[in-house]
Symmetry: C2
Subunit: 462 residues, 2 copies
């Protein structure tokens, strides 16, 4: 039993978490899309009055914005997911506002949960400026936090009523965007807010957005039209653009983007019940000739493709922030799988490697344990996988020479000093080449598994 005693006697060395402060900073007001006002307040869902827990986002355009969303495929869908899905379907992909609360997921809350989510919609609808096309249920709703607790709905309703779109409690400056992004946060350590400019057919557009998520991160989201319904969600995101895009094309661009961004990240392999990514396109940016023409896949393939590419890049940027802020994460690792016959095969292998507890603890230990990478790869049922063709390479983030550890199924004599050097970096990559059987590839972003992860999740509710 000396072995057991040795274990008990060992002191656990905790690496200090690197500061993530540099990942958030001010953005110029000019980088935000026009036609949106926002706020974030403390409504009282969270106990600490210094923490924001209610966010409001309103499109000020006369017409409802195009809206699209991807929701968790979890069988247990939280009330806000069910309600937002219904609204999107009823309104044919149009919406004017988003309301979000953190601190409580409003998941597994039965009929009361649905009533509460509808109350949030109704109260936010009441803030909207009157417009030609005013209709009911123009607000999409999101919640994040602990499962199985009822929303403190009176506090939330009071919070929404304390705001007004006419008296400038909602605004469009950086501070307003930052407050809204902060209201999304749960175990996040910084608000996740980014913006981006792009040009289609000579007109400049902008998109900006925020997301949140640190744990229960392994999304698998699809559009509302497929028949599923979610429950305790932890990835929430909202992207706002002043481009004009038809609802149908907005959804197809988002579905494509989400598959290659939010559906390609993992913190802990746990799919949430509330995962939701929303996008609004209000068309408030006036084109050079003053006309607003909706981008549509059928009528302007080139314009659509530019939009889809920009949306995908932006979604990747937001998704990566979640991994960087993963609970207890000290590493940001890009897993790239090449040489598959289908994108789906490459994606499944990248996902398995990215969620392997043994791979993730080795990453934390800065141990180039490629055997674990291979074991995870081989555990995915891909019939054409040939062990004698597979190569694994560690890719440093500083553009220095990559380190092959396995070439065509044969282990290399690994320079352990160099391996330590690469794995000592905060960012690095693992490339798994299946060996030219196919030409498809997929990329996943993951983090390591640390003592901090266990600590955070061993007492999350307390």
């Amino acid at each position: 039993m000396s072995r057991l005693f040795k274990r008990l006697a060992s002191t656990i060395q905790v690496k200090p978490l690197p500061s993530k402060a540099h990942l958030h900073g001010p953005l110029p007001a000019s980088s935000f899309p026009t036609g949106y006002i926002l706020t974030g307040i403390h409504a009282g869902v969270k106990k600490n009055p210094a923490l924001l827990d209610l966010g409001l986002i309103v499109s000020t355009s006369d017409h409802p914005a195009s809206a699209a969303a991807c929701f968790t495929r979890n069988a247990f869908k939280a009330a806000p997911v069910v309600v937002s899905q219904q609204i999107l379907t009823q309104n044919g992909g149009r919406a004017r506002a988003v309301v979000v609360n953190s601190g409580c997921a409003n998941a597994v809350t039965g009929r009361q949960g649905l009533e509460d989510a509808w109350a949030m919609v109704r109260e936010t609808d009441a803030l909207l400026p009157p417009s030609v096309s005013t209709a009911k249920n123009h607000t999409l709703v999101m919640s994040t936090g602990v499962i199985g607790q009822k929303l403190p709905i009176t506090k939330i309703v009071d919070g929404i009523r304390s705001q007004s779109t006419s008296t400038r409690t909602l605004a469009s400056d950086f501070s307003a965007w930052e407050r809204a992004a902060t209201a999304f946060m749960t175990t996040d350590t910084f608000p996740k807010l980014r913006s981006r400019a792009f040009t289609i057919n000579g007109t400049e557009f902008r998109m900006a957005g925020m997301d949140k998520g640190a744990g229960m991160i392994h999304p698998d989201m699809g559009p509302a039209t497929t028949s599923f319904t979610p429950l305790h969600a932890t990835l929430l995101g909202c992207i706002l653009t002043d481009a004009a895009v038809s609802p149908r094309s907005l959804q197809s661009a988002l579905t494509y983007a989400v598959e290659r961004s939010f559906n390609s990240i993992s913190v802990d392999g746990d799919m949430s019940t509330n995962d939701t990514i929303l996008v609004l396109a209000n068309g408030a940016a006036v084109s050079n000739d003053g006309k607003v023409v909706e981008i549509d896949e059928e009528t302007d393939k080139d314009g659509y493709n530019i939009f889809r590419t920009e949306l995908t890049k932006f979604a990747v940027e937001l998704a990566q922030l979640v991994v960087r802020d993963g609970e207890g994460a000290t590493k940001f690792v890009t897993v790239n799988v090449k040489g598959a016959l289908t994108y789906g095969d490459a994606h499944r292998i990248a996902s398995r490697v990215s969620t392997s507890a043994l791979v993730k603890t080795a990453l934390y230990g800065e141990d180039a344990n490629w055997g674990r990478v291979l074991a995870a790869t081989g555990s995915v049922a891909v019939p054409y996988l040939d062990p004698t063709k597979v190569s694994v390479t560690f890719i440093p983030s500083d553009n220095t020479v990559p380190l092959p550890v396995l070439v065509n199924g044969e282990p290399e004599t690994v320079d352990e000093v160099r391996a330590k050097e690469i794995l000592g970096m905060e960012d690095f990559g693992i490339c798994i080449d299946l060996g030219g059987i196919g030409k498809e590839e997929a990329t996943y972003w993951t983090c390591d598994f640390s003592y901090e992860y266990v600590r955070i999740n061993g007492d999350y509710r307390s």
Copy 2:
């Protein structure tokens, strides 16, 4: 950033691992099956000369024993897995010996690895007493340890040659069985050895066996006849009986038993490349009338069913020991899923819940966070899953009253004191009732995720 500072300042409280010493103890010599001699020695694969790393098991029966096996379905199969599969197929399910080494998995070792595995077979064959039916390749081989390192084959060959089946270095007393079981160990904290007696048609038989495994435990094993081939394995087991069973029926009984035992446990969700469970049935127990008749599914359904049931119970007993000794484990949790339309659906849900990092950290934190159980349940694609029908109950191990936390999709007002009481036990159960949609159920055994798990796997190779 005060939140981040708080994290950095926090001291990680490490719960001492409970001693597992009581899980191993002497067994009476009369409880072992007749006709087997064994040993375990230090051959030099492991650095520490006090640790055994080479085990030998020989059936002394005049005729080769019936043999069956289940191997990992990992695409990367270690050399010993490939070799044992070939031998079993070539010999039509007969074998006379087993050789096993720990300390090195002989996985991803290319052609040299296969040659080394064959050398272990050849050297052990040479120890076998001559018999009427002597044939080549009557030894099955297993290895466990680190991936990608070559076997120190000279040391292993010397170790095998130092033994002899005629001069009693192999023996059948408890000490010999214990040494063999000890030679299987890697990060295990105790040797896993059990025995069992059973009666078929008036004759008493015995089975005994050993297994090992503590990490990279999430087996998915099938018989050798399906076309797959494995690589870094961490679950090894060997069951020996003095019953006579036809090779075909031995395989079908083992496949059934493994599905409900070793394929229903998880420590970390990582499927290994070397997972192997072997069974030998040498027929050395003489029936009352002196005749040896092989149990066969076709000719004696009742006898076969008794054997299969006994084998399954015994496999469950051995499999549970692996979970109890899971790396860093402080809990032994039984996950039971009821009310599914198929065993496969129930098994997939039980597996997902058992591997969820969030569920496992909550178990470590003794937090009755049923929301995480539900989120994991809902992340399995089972089309008929109806959230409003699902119930979740925590089951104490002391036969006191179970604690329902969710009934027909509605959260109960949970008595947190009682919840803490149950989750404070070393053993307890989680029952997930899908709500009577079907009648099938499956049981999984899992453990928690602790700081110790991260520590052990953050520096496994060093």
